[in-house]
Symmetry: C2
Subunit: 652 residues, 2 copies
């Protein structure tokens, strides 16, 4: 705009911003809820972005060469929807369905709105997903840019700074963070109010290129976006924009107590009058995706575009990736796991995770591995050695790791993200949002349970099954031996959703032939006879305790059935019910190295709750301590000795 000196162009973008504002107000009033004022502060920046810089095939949101726009401040969803509507993505009138039951225009962006890449609404997560997009662009030589629109309140979230450090460490100069500093949080002024320097200093310290601007000055916005898009440094770019919440409507602008509130119908009329005449036919004509507009002359000939010099896209090699991506991309299981482990061998399931993941990486180029700097414990380092280009070291920042994995998954990759089971709790909210985003990620939590021994309770994952289990649509597998691990891992690779593999620190004996078949929702009956009095349902390390108990009880002619519930969620309801019907006491004992609530026991209980069966849960009931694995299994009440005692108590 600047160089054109065209007042007409400026007028047009101002008019478009006016129309954007109008629809943010109209849609929230129609919904009678929503965050109108949080939209207005960002309306000018977003308008210039869509009018001039955002390169996107509106007919094909899944075009891999599209720019990405992450609305990290998800409560500004009316703005998000309005932008895509004005770009031709949906009829303008549909905006009036905002927040209504059945509408895809939900209170915060969800993936049923087809232009949503990742669900937002839990603040501070957008930059991590954006970093995942930007990282993939780097890895695969894609020219697209990733824009992340953030609020100033969410800059207090540590996850933002994890993402910022990650982005600069990996030199993601194709990532553009826009901070909408509108000063007002939900209930009061933010930590730093309108002191832009506070954000500039922090982002600069994290090696961002940072520009502070007036977020309502079109020339400054345009210049900043132009510099950001043409960023020639090796640093990510941040635009810190001073804005006013409620901008454009006098009785809203920079006023307290308007967060998350729509206008009444009367106030809406007042506001629209203030905005003035709006040309309702104005629309955004989005720039074509960057890989398709590699020729500079195309850009110059386009009157809609800024004339501020734009670097040739050829600084990025042409995209080698397919122009469309599929969300489910992993090869068939049979190609991956050919377990060579022999019965009686002692191998840690965590080690098998690394071995088989590396193999999966051979057969499928879309498999990625991420780790939070414990790769020599989780054994993801074996994947790193085999496929260094597809391994992402995330350092000790689990929240950002999950966000990056989500970003990768939403562009068609299958990321496996690993850490200690206990430390995945650090990212519960990110895992939750991955589920809402329709993410496709396999998590691996190692060092599950008290069997880790001496490191003590802070390192014991004892609530991980409860965490993953609560979220809808998740899959949880806990293999007891190497063969199971090798066989279930490809199943998780092929599962399109959020799955969790729970691995063990100690070595365990191989108990299955490599020809055994394993399924999601399956189990293995390890011991059975016609004289079984009850069933012991175990998983992971406790399978071995159950087998020991079996042997001891057998000596006393007490016969129990032993089932390995390697599939914890879904649990094998059919087999469990069959066991109940075939044993004498209509009873299942569940035994697991997990806290009592939310673990295998509760899945088993739910599976058989309508049958009138009795279930005895054996699990960790209190905070454990350091000691050997065996000492702790016993102290926790889940050892073979404890199982024997429990069985005998039930015989009385």
């Amino acid at each position: 705009m600047k160089n054109e000196g065209s007042e007409k162009a400026l007028q047009q973008v101002q008019d478009k911003a006016k129309l954007v504002r109008k629809w943010c107000l109209v849609s929230t009033t129609a919904a009678n809820s929503g965050h109108a004022t949080s939209c207005l502060s960002a309306a000018d920046i977003a308008t210039v972005l869509f009018d001039t810089y955002f390169s996107y095939d509106i007919k094909n949101p899944r075009n891999i060469t599209n720019d990405r726009f992450v609305l990290s401040k998800g409560h500004a969803s009316p703005l998000f929807y309005t932008l895509f509507a004005m770009a031709g993505g949906l009829p303008m009138e549909e905006l009036k369905t905002l927040r209504k039951f059945g509408s895809n225009l939900q209170g915060h962006p969800m993936p049923d709105f087809k232009f949503t890449d990742v669900a937002t609404g839990s603040l501070g997560q957008g930059l991590s997903a954006g970093a995942g997009f930007a990282l993939l662009a780097k890895k695969e030589n894609l020219a697209f840019k990733t824009f992340v629109l953030m609020g100033d309140s969410e800059m207090a979230e540590g996850s933002v700074w994890e993402a910022a450090n990650f982005a600069s460490y990996y030199k993601l100069n194709n990532l553009i963070a826009i901070v909408d500093v509108n000063r007002l949080g939900q209930s009061q002024e933010t930590m730093y109010g309108h002191h832009l320097d506070e954000y500039v200093r922090r982002l600069s310290s994290c090696d961002f290129e940072v520009l502070a601007i007036d977020g309502h000055n079109y020339e400054e916005i345009d210049k900043a976006l132009s510099l950001a898009v043409n960023n020639k440094s090796d640093r990510p770019f941040a635009i810190v924009a001073q804005t006013f919440k409620g901008r454009g409507v006098s009785f809203l602008e920079n006023k307290d107590n308007w967060h998350g509130k729509p206008l009444s119908k009367d106030d809406l009329q007042k506001a629209l009058k203030e905005l003035g005449e709006v040309d309702d036919e104005l629309r955004f004509e989005l720039r074509s995706p960057r890989s398709a507009v590699a020729h500079p002359s195309t850009i110059e000939s386009d009157a809609r575009r800024s004339s501020v010099a734009r670097g040739p896209v050829s600084s990025f090699p042409p995209a080698s990736a397919p122009s469309k991506y599929s969300v489910r991309a992993v090869g068939s299981p049979s190609s991956a796991a050919t377990p060579h482990y022999k019965i009686g061998d002692e191998v840690a399931t965590r080690q098998v995770y690394g071995e088989v993941l590396a193999e999966l990486g051979n057969s499928n180029p879309d498999v990625y591995a991420l780790d939070a700097e414990v790769k020599n414990s989780t054994f993801s380092e074996l994947f790193q050695k085999a496929h260094p280009q597809r391994f992402v070291e995330c350092f000790i920042a689990e929240q950002n790791m999950v966000g990056v994995a989500l970003g990768l998954s939403k562009l068609g990759k299958k990321p496996f993200a690993s850490s200690f089971a206990c430390f995945l709790t650090r990212a519960f909210d990110q895992i939750r949002m991955s589920v809402l985003s329709g993410g496709n990620i396999a998590f691996c939590g190692s060092h599950a349970g008290v069997s880790i021994g001496e490191d003590g309770p802070s390192q014991m994952g004892l609530e991980d099954i409860a965490m993953f289990g609560a979220l809808p649509g998740t899959i949880i597998m806990q293999p007891a031996d190497a063969v199971t691990t090798a066989k279930v891992l490809p199943l998780l690779a092929d599962y399109n959703g959020i799955s969790y593999l729970r691995t063990l620190r100690p070595k365990t004996k191989v108990i299955y032939n490599s020809s055994e078949k394993f399924t999601i929702g399956g189990s293995k009956i390890l011991k059975q006879s016609k004289n079984d009095i009850l069933t012991i349902s175990a998983t992971g390390i406790t399978v071995f305790e159950a087998l020991k108990a079996y042997e001891e009880l057998k000596k006393e002619s007490i016969f129990v059935r032993v089932v390995d519930c390697y599939s914890v969620k879904p649990v094998d309801e059919e087999t469990l019910k069959k066991c109940l019907s075939e044993t004498k006491k209509n009873t299942i004992i569940t035994v697991e190295d997990h806290f009592a609530h939310g673990g295998l026991g509760d899945f088993v209980l739910s599976a058989v709750s309508q049958t009138g069966a009795k279930v005895e849960k054996m699990a960790v009931e209190q905070i454990m301590r350091s000691g050997t694995g065996d000492e702790l299994l016993d102290a926790a009440g889940i050892s073979s000795r404890n199982i024997i005692a429990k069985v005998k108590s039930l015989l009385k």
Copy 2:
């Protein structure tokens, strides 16, 4: 040391550091596990700290005027134990029990070691707890200093930066962060290696006073600690120390692949030989707590002390708090809640939370409230209005909020920490560590469940009961009405541990008289008759759905019992079993606005699992969407209509 020019003094502190190193090596070899090299990098700093600056009554760890030492890099526990042993806190020989079953010297510091303030071992959490200590010192005019020893790897955790920004925002110039930059993480070099400037820049940007030093140079360490302790700025202080992992033993120092590994017995002998002669009798004579040494001359006359000028402690007013603190400090329930709500009134339970918390604050000066910038939604703002001095705005940084609350609780306060239920998932790891720390915190999660309506799934807490429920020793309450809320809140205040109150967004009808009694583990039978066919167990919003279903079913002469399980954990096993025995179909239907796994249903199942009763769980089974609360309750399958259908299906 410097000004004394005393080579003897320097020699003595070097000798003490040698003895510290020896015991770190001896204890880990005795344990045959542990993080020896991570201790050695910090040994010199820690030795100078304990030798000269740490002011502490070793006979009384709970002396409120003691300095606080938080080992955020909890894996360096052998160093932690050795320091307190050399200070006279335990026999040196006890160090050889490290990591053994039954020893208090666990793999990572736990509170059974009496000098542990907060359990550590999940990295990046120490600074938040330290900020809690430092904040309390400011609030109560206590002179003690808080030292937090951090590793460089954990600086990648976002929670560290939440804490850093919190500390500078609240001008905690009594907080001293020491970053042990030993370059090597667990599996590789850290993000920034030995580039101290990366840490200096980031901490400076967060408004810390920052000093970079050679962490093995006693003069530099001494000067830095002296400046830190005498910090006259209004900023927190950080010492960024370049160190070497394994320092002092040539074959360990700055070498890869030694993380978390003890020396073999042979290697230990080699290492001890390298360390050279050590005077085994050397000990730390800790400086007295600061409030007791207010007179500068006392300091000068003490030969052990640095002669670097130390500001008079009188810059802090004398401590007004008791010199000892009790962990359980809240007044009796009867003093607080006098509900004035009348049956039929419509009041949101979240509002009652604020009202009653403010009252609790009147009757007990140890009650604090913290909120993550949603205080006008959780209604903790009512506490803020009544007790601004005891309200802590934590901004949108839930992880740090929990850490600060933990710090407050470990010094005898009773913090109530609130946010939306869904956003508490952000701090699951911190909540987990609060449980391990023996923290005394009441959490409040508002906006639980799909009943929030239009804001959509990202704002719905549907996994919070699973999260809090998995952790041992926690209490979970979900009141359906105002009276229940008012009555249970004082119970949580008096509960010494981690408790959780789940509040609702919509207003609900008052259904109880203010004379009703409520207990932890209690429930209320709302409807019953001799003809009841089964029991409906509900909690929170679904109590009203159950009551509606009851009325409809009654019209058809179908009688059901309705129980309000306001105490979700522990659930009222006795009443539920009684209901089973008094109803015809030996069946309980549980209905809750929470995901199906890990909620009330599983608590009920577990409670009656040994009776052979049948339990039908009604809960949210999939990701919900925006809509009205009523639309969503119905779509989720937990409305009165759904309950009626379920009851009728069971009659067939």
